[in-house]
Amino acid sequence: MVPAINADWSIVAERIFSPDAIFWRALATTVTIAVVAQVAGVLLGLLSALAGLSRFWPIRALAAAYVLVIRGTPLIVQIFFVFYGVNLFLGLPFNLFPREVEILGLTIPGAAIAGTVALAINEGAYMSEIIRAGIQSVDPGQMEAALSVGMTRPLAMRRIVLPQAARVIVPPLGNEFNGMIKNTSLLAFIGVYEMFFDAEVHYSTTFKPVEYFLAVAFWYLVLTTIWTLIQMQIERRLNPAEETREGGVMARVRRLQWGRAH
């Protein structure tokens, strides 16, 4: 028997070139969840990385346990645990993730919030390791010079160490976001109407898996490709080969720093 490619290309083309409004909403949901979860994940990771460098061992132990547990268990289990389990686990008298929540005039399903929280917690563990490695890549003499002029450790971390660590953190952070875009598809399993859920809805009503899953794969590829292009731009600005008279790499690192220096 000769295998043959078998697809109704008109459906694929329709899903790619003229998707319906529901699809665009689903795409917006995917992007929004990915961005929010990534930002929250970076903040959690920063917190965890700093905790991991603490002088107090219980704080270090807490950070280590977080990273160990999250990285050692499947993301889908974490998502289900947060959405179905946390209310029972914590014995809350109210539902942490009700069917719908009003935020800034938007009606957001509880599942989307639970899913975003789970993705953020998961991402935080990976970012924790990335940020810790970034901080440790900075010469300890940098911190010492900051201390010697009277900075406290937190100020020195913010002003001196983290801006330099950013150079090491940004490339893997970009890769993490690429993964995040794809991982949002797992939220379909708790009923979040994002891109993969939309594909599944079409599949289950038409029984045409080839067309709908091909089309949604295309859209994920579009998102990750756009991101990769953005990432290349950012990394090009951080590339030491791109030295200019403005001071090269470190000047660029500073431009990525939150807030202006002075």
Binding site: Q142, V149, G150, G247, M250, A251, V253
Partner: protein, 261 residues
């Protein structure tokens, strides 16, 4: 407990400082008094504890026993009623360090900031000075170390000697009571050593109190009021520079000097 300082002009009073790294006792009872305006050079073989001693003076290292006072205030610790010492809170230690300049062997300039930004960083973000005022001071300091034209240069564009001069200006911007130099010229190319020593000598002439770990005997001869020889975690002998060049007391000192001179 020890008596407070007898002489009010002493800016540094370190007494019987001990410091261990694990089982390695690096400082085995170091005492040193330095008067206001005095320039003290510390010499001694590698591994004798010179860097560690300087780092204890601004509490970059904790000490195991002894006490260190700068301008009559104990550094890093406070006395407890039961006679022991308790470490000061981080903020208080930071305030103390702000008054003690430290110049590192490897400069440790912040590479993501220009020369000027390196200098105004602490005045603005530690002391809360207005940026305009800090810049004016920084420009004067840059002129003083001969680098007014390097104001906007990043450290990677500066030679070692230029970087070290910026580092000195950065320390001076906090108007320190005391400057500590840890082999400030030993990581430099020979041709830039002179420009840094010249800046240090000028500072000394201006009356800055300085403790310099250095092997530049020419500098010690010209600028130092006193030379201190450290060996194996203790001060072996001290005296005016000429003492060391004419008749050092200890055989170890003689051997050391014959190696470096």
């Amino acid at each position: 407990m020890e008596e407070p300082l007898a002489s009010s002009s002493a800016i540094l009073d370190a007494r019987d400082v001990h410091k261990r790294f694990g089982h390695n006792e690096v400082l085995r009872g170091v005492s040193l008094q330095v008067q206001r305006g005095e320039v003290v050079c510390i010499i001694g073989p590698s591994g004798s504890g010179k860097t560690t001693f300087l780092r204890c003076l601004n509490h970059l290292e904790r000490i195991d026993s002894g006490r260190i006072e700068v301008d009559g205030k104990m550094i890093g610790y406070r006395d407890c009623p039961n006679g022991t010492l308790a470490e000061l809170p981080a903020k208080e230690v930071a305030r103390q360090r702000a008054e003690i300049g430290f110049v590192f062997q490897r400069f440790n300039l912040w590479p993501h900031m220009t020369a000027l930004e390196n200098i105004i960083e602490a005045p603005v973000h530690v002391r809360g000075e207005r940026e305009r005022d800090a810049v004016a001071v920084a420009e004067r300091l840059l002129a003083r170390v001969g680098l007014q034209d390097k104001r906007d240069a990043y450290p990677s564009k500066l030679s070692g000697g230029q970087q070290q001069r910026v580092a000195i200006a950065r320390a001076l911007a906090m108007r320190p009571k005391l400057m500590l130099f840890d082999e400030a010229t030993s990581a430099l190319d020979p041709e830039t050593v002179g420009e840094v020593l010249a800046v240090m000598a000028e500072l000394a002439a201006d009356g800055m109190t300085m403790i310099c770990v250095t092997h530049e005997m020419g500098f010690a001869r010209e600028a130092a009021n006193r030379v201190v020889m450290m060996d194996q975690g203790v001060i072996l002998e001290e005296g005016p520079p000429q003492h060391f060049f004419t008749n050092p007391t200890h055989e170890r000192t003689r051997q050391f000097l014959s190696k470096i001179l």
